[in-house]
Symmetry: C2
Subunit: 155 residues, 2 copies
Amino acid sequence: MTTPDATLRRFLGYDMKRAFAVIQSDVNAVLAPFGLRMVTFSVLVVIRDNPRLRQTQLAEILSLEKPNLVLILDQLERLKTVVRARAPDDRRAHELNITLQGRRLCDRALEAVDAHDARMAEGLSLEERQALHTALRHVETNGRVVDDRRAVSRS
Amino acid sequence: MTTPDATLRRFLGYDMKRAFAVIQSDVNAVLAPFGLRMVTFSVLVVIRDNPRLRQTQLAEILSLEKPNLVLILDQLERLKTVVRARAPDDRRAHELNITLQGRRLCDRALEAVDAHDARMAEGLSLEERQALHTALRHVETNGRVVDDRRAVSRS
DNA sequence: TATTGTTATACTCTATAACTATA
DNA sequence: TATAGTTATAGAGTATAACAATA
């Protein structure tokens, strides 16, 4: 047993929790100067890439609960980066759109996060980096399957 | 743009957040029948592997804050899996040790988490899986470096 | 009756300051 | 004066129930 946590190091969950903790605090630090957090940044990007999106769809895409999205959008509206407008065809719904100012902020933030991401991947070859993304998506998919047969694992 | 979150998919942080969310809820479901969560499980394993460990050291190993560790240990003591004892050489400190009952629980939980981990890695070759671990530790290390020169990234 | 966005709320996780008892 | 463990507390992040407006 070379390190005190050697037993845990064989689990994907453990290595991922540690790696993600590092990334999250780091990305939040990178985004703070823009007035953004990891979630608000993600929401801003998805709104930019999907004009006239509705809140329910946005929540679905990012796996957020609708009530939690409300406060995130309030914050983005306060930053003048996003606007909520009544949908003409369904007056219950809101169409979400990015503003010009939001687009500028989004571009700058994307650049900063890209730079940070490159630093996080330093030391990994392009192939290794691509393999990491592939493996992570693989795990995400495997987990979703496990979700269906929940708690059958053993007891 | 094939998926609504295609832009975000290029970021390690995004793929990791999604993959980890899946793993975490999954592992917690696997551990629930044992009365454990991801953290309590990790703490139990480290105590088993490092007899007479003290709380400050344990907190350091698992990157937990000492105050948060207190409640975790309370819970493990209530389960009769761990005991706190006054250290003979320093009466301020506690020596942590696993009980026989704790050892049994730890073994069964490890088996369950191992089985789950194998399912999460299904579809990945042994080499791919090993590469995933390596890449995650690489990211963890890269992040720690960034930590030192915090907030210098750009603004 | 169902759905969209919202409010209120609660529970977990994480982080910090300050206390106590020892050193 | 400093350290180990603890208490209290506050802030995120996340989850559910119920409501008003609209379909």
